[in-house]
Point group: D3
Chain length 336, copies 6
Amino acid sequence: MSGDKEMKATRKPRITGSELPNIPWEDRPEGYEGVIWRSRRNPIIPRNLIPSANSIFNSAVVPFAGEYAGVFRCDDKRRHMRLHRGRSGDGINWDIDNEPISFFCENPEMGNFLYGYDPRVCYLEDRYYITWCNGYHGPTIGVGYTYDFKQFYQLENAFLPYNRNGVLFPRKINGNYAMLSRPSDTGHTAFGDIFYSESPDLCYWGRHRHVMAPVGGWQGTKIGAGPAPVETGEGWLLIYHGVLTSCNGYVYSVGAALLDLEQPWKVRYRTAPYILSPQTLYECVGDVPNVVFPCAALCDTATGRMAIYYGGADTVTCLAYTLVNELISFIKDNSL
Amino acid sequence: MSGDKEMKATRKPRITGSELPNIPWEDRPEGYEGVIWRSRRNPIIPRNLIPSANSIFNSAVVPFAGEYAGVFRCDDKRRHMRLHRGRSGDGINWDIDNEPISFFCENPEMGNFLYGYDPRVCYLEDRYYITWCNGYHGPTIGVGYTYDFKQFYQLENAFLPYNRNGVLFPRKINGNYAMLSRPSDTGHTAFGDIFYSESPDLCYWGRHRHVMAPVGGWQGTKIGAGPAPVETGEGWLLIYHGVLTSCNGYVYSVGAALLDLEQPWKVRYRTAPYILSPQTLYECVGDVPNVVFPCAALCDTATGRMAIYYGGADTVTCLAYTLVNELISFIKDNSL
Amino acid sequence: MSGDKEMKATRKPRITGSELPNIPWEDRPEGYEGVIWRSRRNPIIPRNLIPSANSIFNSAVVPFAGEYAGVFRCDDKRRHMRLHRGRSGDGINWDIDNEPISFFCENPEMGNFLYGYDPRVCYLEDRYYITWCNGYHGPTIGVGYTYDFKQFYQLENAFLPYNRNGVLFPRKINGNYAMLSRPSDTGHTAFGDIFYSESPDLCYWGRHRHVMAPVGGWQGTKIGAGPAPVETGEGWLLIYHGVLTSCNGYVYSVGAALLDLEQPWKVRYRTAPYILSPQTLYECVGDVPNVVFPCAALCDTATGRMAIYYGGADTVTCLAYTLVNELISFIKDNSL
Amino acid sequence: MSGDKEMKATRKPRITGSELPNIPWEDRPEGYEGVIWRSRRNPIIPRNLIPSANSIFNSAVVPFAGEYAGVFRCDDKRRHMRLHRGRSGDGINWDIDNEPISFFCENPEMGNFLYGYDPRVCYLEDRYYITWCNGYHGPTIGVGYTYDFKQFYQLENAFLPYNRNGVLFPRKINGNYAMLSRPSDTGHTAFGDIFYSESPDLCYWGRHRHVMAPVGGWQGTKIGAGPAPVETGEGWLLIYHGVLTSCNGYVYSVGAALLDLEQPWKVRYRTAPYILSPQTLYECVGDVPNVVFPCAALCDTATGRMAIYYGGADTVTCLAYTLVNELISFIKDNSL
Amino acid sequence: MSGDKEMKATRKPRITGSELPNIPWEDRPEGYEGVIWRSRRNPIIPRNLIPSANSIFNSAVVPFAGEYAGVFRCDDKRRHMRLHRGRSGDGINWDIDNEPISFFCENPEMGNFLYGYDPRVCYLEDRYYITWCNGYHGPTIGVGYTYDFKQFYQLENAFLPYNRNGVLFPRKINGNYAMLSRPSDTGHTAFGDIFYSESPDLCYWGRHRHVMAPVGGWQGTKIGAGPAPVETGEGWLLIYHGVLTSCNGYVYSVGAALLDLEQPWKVRYRTAPYILSPQTLYECVGDVPNVVFPCAALCDTATGRMAIYYGGADTVTCLAYTLVNELISFIKDNSL
Amino acid sequence: MSGDKEMKATRKPRITGSELPNIPWEDRPEGYEGVIWRSRRNPIIPRNLIPSANSIFNSAVVPFAGEYAGVFRCDDKRRHMRLHRGRSGDGINWDIDNEPISFFCENPEMGNFLYGYDPRVCYLEDRYYITWCNGYHGPTIGVGYTYDFKQFYQLENAFLPYNRNGVLFPRKINGNYAMLSRPSDTGHTAFGDIFYSESPDLCYWGRHRHVMAPVGGWQGTKIGAGPAPVETGEGWLLIYHGVLTSCNGYVYSVGAALLDLEQPWKVRYRTAPYILSPQTLYECVGDVPNVVFPCAALCDTATGRMAIYYGGADTVTCLAYTLVNELISFIKDNSL
């Protein structure tokens, strides 16, 4: 409790985990008014960076060992969805394995990898947890971990199918592991709320609570958590995607919310406007037009700088920047 | 293995729980060849047994205190779905409360009863557990219990939405509580497999395993567990419903399977034919035509008699009979 | 205002128009608790009363010249939807023309009768107005009148397509003609609210106001006005149909509401439960199973008796009874 | 041409094939006005006539060896669709094999029987041809034959998937075998016209011509040929089914047409009204409510009597009667 | 009548209203053959001209007080649809208010602005009428006016929901106000004809007539009126949009028609080909790909020049040019 | 048989027909690794090459008389689908007729051209056969031929509707003409397998065999044959398209297979990855975004060079290159 008070006082974003290397950064362009701005180097990872890939997007990036490591969604040229490991010195230029990650798994039925997509990586306690949409008689939330980005281990799926966008919190809540997810159906789900669940052991999950529902406009069809929530003095900073259904399909935009620190299923603030929507050619044209889809954020506590990694048009990997304190102010000033 | 052999030797269905009173029974009609036969008194509970009800069906009945008790789905005249308590001396003539059950629940958000339907009751350890389709931002599996059918307590929902047909096993498996369920979507779900999950404490659930998928014919669209599985020397006897989609809608029939006793997600036998399908006027005409939907079975170990309670046309409650050993033989002889 | 008060004092239903002949009547059956009860002679009009008919249902009946007259939906054996004239001495035994009504219409394009269904008849000022679902580049509200049930005249359609269930009020409101209707689409519309509109001259319509929306349960998909509203001291008594979508299609039930006398778009009371739902064989089996659809009500001011004509399963014509004061009390006691 | 004239002169229906035994017959009921009337013994074959059957319907019956033989659609209790052989002395009481027909087929891939339904049988030249909806990577038209209703042989499928309701003409047209069929899709097809095709050898088919399209009302969604066309002086008498889509599903009714004798893709007359629609309990209640589906007709040239076999509610087999000359007159008098 | 004759003689387009300022103009590009050509400055209004906007498109522009004024659809960053006022000296460079228009409305229920989109402005008699798609329990036609583009007043909605693309004629027809509209449903309507309606007072509407239906090709799914019709000697010049449904969604193109001057529901000519279709990047890429949607046209009587304002990809505002007499000739030469 | 052995030995692609002129060619770009590479001149035919065209794509090109000739899909500005003739000296620069081809056809009903699209041209025996999707009461396979690309003759449609992508083999198989096709439905078909059929005379077709089904990924929704198969020592080289359904519509990619030479319904190898997918602006933006659709391939036996013509975004015509032996190796190395 006292820690909570302190955090509120300082209002600094805290990043749990290893020391941050030199975070990618570009200043806000002259005259640009948005709270988030795109990298001029976008897309930072083209669709064909590795020979096996049809597309590389929806990346999950963390600081690791003085550099950066990540798990990337690389759809191959069969258009099968796979998870690949990447390493980078600067967070911009990436070295991605041409072959997908192979997870060790005790249970062979569970570990029979059918497909994996939209990974998130979260440093928690002593290791890097990976969650992803995992194919097991339908999409559900796969859970794995690595200590070193060399060996990867797969645990039990968190939930029954059908689920997507499972995102771990970077610390335990009420003594439990905590995850956001978006229950789905078997196809291009036309609905979707964010729920919260807890687990004492990352095996059994319960205490499910509803967090947020679609509310119209850019977030009228469905919503899903993006990067792992960032703990701040104002609550958990959650960047999330929302979907609008036009007559020509889905449009994926990005918003943000502040969740209660101890009861994260309680939404304190939530942006009515989007903070990023598909407007550039690399976001509007590609395998799935009109998609911006954030999966990771690097945050530098000292400067408050945040670098948000997001997929463009389900085809390429992009980068956008913000300042955490500005973003928090924006959320509070533009809340539903 | 040797235990399994022993069980096969005895081939007696085992019922955990209180002593069975006089189980409802009617002999197989002359010349009737099916393994299951209907009660001549069907529908044993008419739609209007209590003034508040539009329909009474999909009943969950157990032996209790030398008589029978049950939890009934009673849709009221708003067509809202509610759970009502019932008592009976003979399992045929029921006294059902005109008002729905009110559950005690510690968490007010969880206990805010929106709707409940298709209950199952399962005696386990020291009390009667009730599972049902519970409205919490969509359908999911509500869990509650009672010791006395007077006070009812509600626990955490077992799973995230969207789920239906949650059915507990009557004893722990591998030291855990175990449940079958059928993940769904938000509407008249057009798909549905049966999954298995475990919990150490009825709060947190995991170790989810796929059990059975639809396979065409009467069970081609979706399937869901019916009464609580009955432990037999041949495995868990699971009576389940399957759905066929005709050009004029869903047709709900009944089949049966034998699941491995220790690894119940492994199907040992499963009927290719249905064992009951909607053929009588009270099954074919009503609020939802062409539905037979089993939710409870009483089983007398001494005689092997089984009385299956099922809903007819989502309108009335019906009864059918079988002999467990005959049913087991039928499953093995007519397996997929 | 004072008139309103007076009406509330008397609480007598008022019927505008000619003297009522001997209204059809049967007392409530012994032990029956519902506020509405069915005629023992149901269906009072079989599907094949006239040789040309496939079905006769959704009738519009009024007192006329010491007897009764009506306009009936008679689908012919092409399954084309037509309006036929009927006469009856007692409201039970009907003489229906084998040929459909032919309307005089000044405008040939407007009067080119494609199809007409679900008529209502309303005595207003000096004549009997007929409204129906009229085919003019899609379904909309046709308007016509007759003085004598011999010559029929057709006016302009009230609204643009797509609309159904247009029902006139039996007197002017605020000096204007007033109509309830249910905007629709081109098919088996899966939505539908009741709106109110006014016209100075039955040609031009405006001042459209929203009256009621679906609210779940039996009235969760769409709702539509039934017989012409009956003026009572408690407001306009509106009997209406509501539709629930089961996995096997639509179920049409009947409810009732009290609308403000001077601002009829304001709902004062509205039944949460239905007052009639399809439960008999002639309501559950037919061309469209599970339909009760009221289109007319005869009301005797002296006794408060009301006879409600409704279609059964889109196939036959049925009759049900109530007492207006009891119905009003029921609406107020069971309001949403 | 002169032959055509002669036929018109005689106006006798001609039946190619063996001598007709005692055709089933019941006189038109007193006061009944329809051109077709039902057997008082309906349903003449109950759903459970043989132990393996869930339902027996959509029968294909021909005179054979002084008695009657037929191929029946018997859905088994898996709800798999199978073809069974039947024999009868009087056309009313049938002896149906409990096991399905096994066809000899040279090509094992073609002869790998997945499912078969809605058979028709047609005597042509020297044998009895059977056509049915055959599962080969989707529904298409299977073709087989028998000389003796003991050995059955399967030929090549007539067409590419997806097709249903393939019906042979009982004699060659323009020196070719001729077939009507209704191209479909993979599911509960919501469209469907009747086409005509020719073949020199029952292996290769071409010269495809459009015959009839849906036209609204009872035949507004799709239409399909029923029994093999009957050659008459007025043209080929084609009894066919038509489908209307109500808000609660498909309704199958029966109509009739007269096709040009030498250019059977030219429709000379076609009934605007149906001649039979589902109105009895055994037609309106069953596995698929509201279906009458004709597949065979016996016709006695001497008397002009015709016995039409049709399926009721996709569950039972029924019989209806007409007089061919009356039916022809009806078609001409009630043509579109 | 004599005026009509005169108009036909001169065949000059007439613009009712204030004197036209310097109409935007660019000559047809060298070698370009189409009857309409795009501005080289397209898109003339970018999506982010004002800070609050996600997009600015589907503009309604009129000459006003020696300059130009307009009402613009500005979707904000919530993706809520709003109407904003704009002013311009040259019709190219616009000054648009950052805040939406606030209408005065006597009736608070009617004036409770939920959303407004796709406005049209029409000078008529003494003021500028605005019509738009107005949210009132579904989309319908909102009607308002302004004298000065400072104060805006809202009248009754013209029609019951569900309707879109309501467009006033710039003079009374037969003594009545006249409007074209396109009845719709609640979603991304997959059908849509243009109808004509009249009103004596802009409050009550009737005399509804069908004008045009979709006819395949680029105008195969639905059609809707664009700018207010322009009166010419050849009839009302109506520029309209048409929609084709590809496997990847709707494609909006533009066509034109000539309507009878006195009976505008009678179509004299209508282009079989489109006159503009989405072909540039700013029309093919954006919030809704493949949309050109005209809402306004400026026309200079002296020169016959016409400047058409249209939305591109539901994102930006574009301009195209034509010469009215050429366009009329094109319509007549390429009529359906 | 010995011929087959010989072919396998040489492994040279054989082209039946006239001598090949100078085949279009560009070397593989430096560093490009794919087995197919795009022309730097793409799109080689813009959408507006001829005045009447909205778009020109899905071309069918063959060597002819020392130059090249082709049949092109030219959608006109009504968006009607038409077939146009083209001639070219180099295969790159095309002279396309502004008016569509007019076929001579003996049967006027068959020859009543409604629409034609996605043509293929195949030299066989003594003439150039054209197959296309032909409108005859729905899409089916039209068949025609020309000797000189001046006079065009139309034969009987090959199959009943509904079918698309009919592609002839360039020589007889088993003494019969042979065709691949993809049975479809009436709309934007969401399924589709490739089937094989034979004909002795191009009039009657039969011996239908299933060839390939969708298998997930880029070819998960439906597949269809592309250019006429090319005979090689390794089997028939079939380039085909496959469709993936994203949340924003269909994505058309290209793969390849090797079919057995004598039993072409037997697939020997089939690429798991695509060999071309929509990635450039002219493939991703246009009338139908995200489409590459091959219809023709020129192959030079001497060099093994192949030039593949394909449509981009259903708007323009593009060219890609490969070496046949490399492509064959790729297919074998990357087979499912």
